[in-house]
Symmetry: C2
Subunit: 205 residues, 2 copies
DNA sequence: CCGGAAGTTGACGTGTCGTCATTTTTGTGA
DNA sequence: TCACAAAAATGACGACACGTCAACTTCCGG
């Protein structure tokens, strides 16, 4: 073969580094799900890998930083989904609905792992990391665009973005408590509420 | 004096017990505000009192339990406020507005202490302690009553209650970031959003 | 094949954890 | 008033997690 390895693997150094990082993140996911974020220790995480305790600190400063990396991962995956929803939307209502569907789908997938209740898997969600900020801004820009186009009235975009996020979080959590979770119903509810308020939310069946 | 002490102080036992508990809670408040919930240790809290480390465990099992006690305190104080808002409300809109005002006032007062950003003062807020549950139920009952009276359409009361709580939390936090926080403006926004959706939210000035 | 840089390792000192035997304080009945 | 038991406070203790670091291993370029 003229190409012994592949095009990707630059060097063993880089490869194991990436692999170790991923191993730690994967172990952290499991540990947070099983023990809960609070109870989990750096040692628990590292025990879930083949690595030694000292190695952990070559990759992350603390348990908190690992969580941030996981959250940032999520945010990085989620933002483009949101962006595409905005670009492909045929109306403001369509945009809102598909954004909620995307988020609810996201959290359903993110909580497939067995273990502790969802609430205990994460610390207080900080919105102030760069990646989280980017998601907030994406939401806000989507709303500002709608306002600029006249699809939505000229309300306080910051408050509106926060309200949408709050609704998504709480209704999303409530949805997860129901089995099976009905993503569309939850998205319909949230969209209707924001668009027309109580009058717009779907009636009880 | 025919009454050496007062009518209240039953015995020294009970009094110091209550005083110690309060001392621990007060110290915890300060420590959580100054170091953040995550960084704080049981030792930090107990150092903020005159007590010895072992004594802490006569009152609470852990840092988490102290926080829960603080949260329960808040919930216990807040619930009757909410209840009265419901009883005195002249309309559903009035109820919503005064409930939001009450909550926003509450968090403004609760965050007077100097120290770390509000986000870091608390762990992920658990809604599943009895006191917290009671607040959720109070919100939900208020909404169900409105639905029963025909003041609000027959929507999913669980989702609606969660949405209101989510809006209150996120818009509340956003409000705290602005100086000075404008409680009425935030409450107007939230009330309008829920009642009539975007069309009902106040326009930007 | 060698030398050094990059990365890994696990033992170490520090500090927190929750426990518990001991001491101190408080209430009660003689 | 005193003595005694129950209640509560104390702080030392073993266990364990923290983050560090000197020694060691692995990898890469020359």
């Amino acid at each position: 073969m003229s190409q012994p390895a592949a095009v990707e693997p630059i060097g063993k150094r880089e490869r194991t580094k990436a692999a170790n990082r991923q191993a730690i993140l994967a172990a952290a996911r499991r540990v947070f799900a099983q023990l809960g974020y609070e109870a989990a220790t750096v040692r628990d995480i590292i025990r879930g890998t083949e690595l030694a305790s000292g190695t952990f600190y070559n990759y992350f400063k603390s348990k908190e930083e690992v969580f941030e990396a996981l959250a940032d991962d999520g945010a990085r995956r989620f933002k483009p989904i949101l962006r595409r929803a905005r670009e492909n939307a045929r109306s403001f209502e369509d945009y809102l609905h598909s954004a909620f569907v995307a988020y609810f789908r996201f959290i359903v997938e993110d909580n497939q792992l067995e273990g502790r209740p969802i609430d205990e898997r994460r610390p207080h969600l900080r919105l102030d990391t760069p990646e989280m900020m980017a998601v907030y801004l994406e939401v806000r820009q989507g709303l500002e665009e709608a306002i600029a186009h006249g699809d939505a009235p000229r309300v306080d975009a910051d408050y509106l973005a926060c309200a949408c996020i709050g609704i998504a979080q709480e209704v999303g959590t409530a949805m997860l408590r129901r089995v099976p979770p009905d993503i569309d119903a939850a998205a319909d509810f949230a969209t209707g509420l924001i668009l027309k308020g109580l009058g717009g939310a779907p009636r009880q069946s």
